[in-house]
Amino acid sequence: MKIIVRSLVIALAVTGAIATSYANAASSKTTTKAPVSIHKTSAMPVPTCNPNNPGSC
């Protein structure tokens, strides 16, 4: 049990670290028009288009 839980926690931390480095690399390559953003952990659809800017999407 102890090993399973610790492995899970380490896996989560390593996944987070890899994802952060990947997102940072992606955001440095992305143009200013569509910045990389995080969204709510939810089943609700993510509104990514700026409502005041018709050309944003």
């Binding site: 839980v5 931390a13 953003s37 659809p45 509104p47 800017n53």
Partner: protein, 315 residues
């Protein structure tokens, strides 16, 4: 018959999107139900004083969900007119503002979980909380600052700032989870403790958020397949919290440390770090400040301290 907002999208979209939206319809409802169930469990078990920040997070999520679902319904039914656009504007701002609130509340949850976990070691708790407050404050300032760029306007800045804040908060949460997991036994906790359960749920959410940020760099769509992953994860996390709060919590073990333990020594050192210092009069004190009794005592003590001159030296 109940109609879900995404039903109409699925009816106009072919293939995979139709399946995804049907799954999302179910997940939205399960999310709302689990959110309410976890809130009820916290209330019934009278855990609000200790876990008020988690309760606030769940309440914010529940309220935002029950507002967002009808707005999405209106937006889809009036896709090409002003009502639909207004519904989308409301949806956009409610989504991101509730997300900002949830980010701040998650930081407070991390702070309170650390405080609860370290409660038996008061000195280290105070020291850690001081470090956490500084780290969190600097992170918030850096998040708000790094989101700023010359061509950023209102809504774009809102998204960028909240995303940076959420990223910072996710990293802090994962650090907390690693700490709680590896220091669980010295703190008298076990894997059935609510402190661990809440940390685990937050850690899963944080890892998902970070993976999502990398994913969204590739597929920035409103109805993407990643929403299904998100929906499943949040339902899993809410179910975990509900289970931890609904079940009785095992008692915290008594912490016994050897007298030579560095934990104990650091705890003792940390406990006196914040104490107000005492003051000693070094010089320049006029005799009028002393009471007559004090002067008398000092004179008698001085007489006793007079050392007779050694005879051998005088000879």
């Amino acid at each position: 018959m109940v109609h879900f907002p995404l039903d109409k999208v699925s009816s106009t979209c072919p293939g995979d999107v139709r399946v995804i939206t049907q799954i999302l319809n179910s997940l939205v409802n399960i999310e709302v139900v689990f959110c309410l169930a976890a809130l009820c469990a916290i209330t019934l078990k009278k855990q609000w004083p200790e876990y008020w920040s988690l309760g606030g997070f769940l309440a914010t999520r529940f309220l935002s969900d029950i507002i967002l679902v009808p707005l999405l319904h209106i937006k889809i039914s009036h896709a090409n007119d002003a009502i639909g656009h207004n519904a989308y504007v409301a949806y956009f701002y409610i989504y991101w503002i509730s997300y900002a609130l949830e980010s701040v509340l998650t930081l407070i949850i991390v702070y309170s979980i650390y405080s609860l976990a370290m409660a038996p070691l008061k000195g280290l708790q105070q020291l850690g909380m001081l470090v956490f407050r500084w780290a969190a404050s600097i992170s918030i300032v850096v998040a708000l600052g790094s989101a700023f760029s010359p061509n950023m306007k209102g809504a774009d800045y809102l998204i960028a700032a909240i995303s940076q804040l959420q990223r910072t908060q996710s990293i802090l949460t994962l650090c907390l989870l690693v700490f709680v997991c590896f220091a669980i036994r010295p703190m008298g906790l076990n894997y059935g403790s609510r402190i661990f359960g809440v940390s685990l749920g937050l850690g899963i959410m944080a890892a998902t958020d970070l993976v999502q940020s990398a994913w969204m760099a590739l597929v920035p769509n409103l109805y993407s397949a990643y929403n299904v992953v998100n929906g499943v994860v949040i339902c899993l996390v809410l179910a975990t919290w509900f289970a931890y709060f609904a079940m009785p919590e095992p008692k915290r073990r008594m912490i016994v440390l050897p007298t030579t333990s560095p934990f104990l020594r650091w705890n003792q050192i940390s406990q006196v770090l914040g104490d107000n210092p005492g003051f000693v009069a070094v010089g320049g004190m006029p005799p009028e400040l002393l009471a007559p009794a004090e002067i008398e005592i000092m004179q008698r003590a001085s007489r006793k301290m007079v050392v007779p001159f050694p005879k051998s030296m005088s000879a």
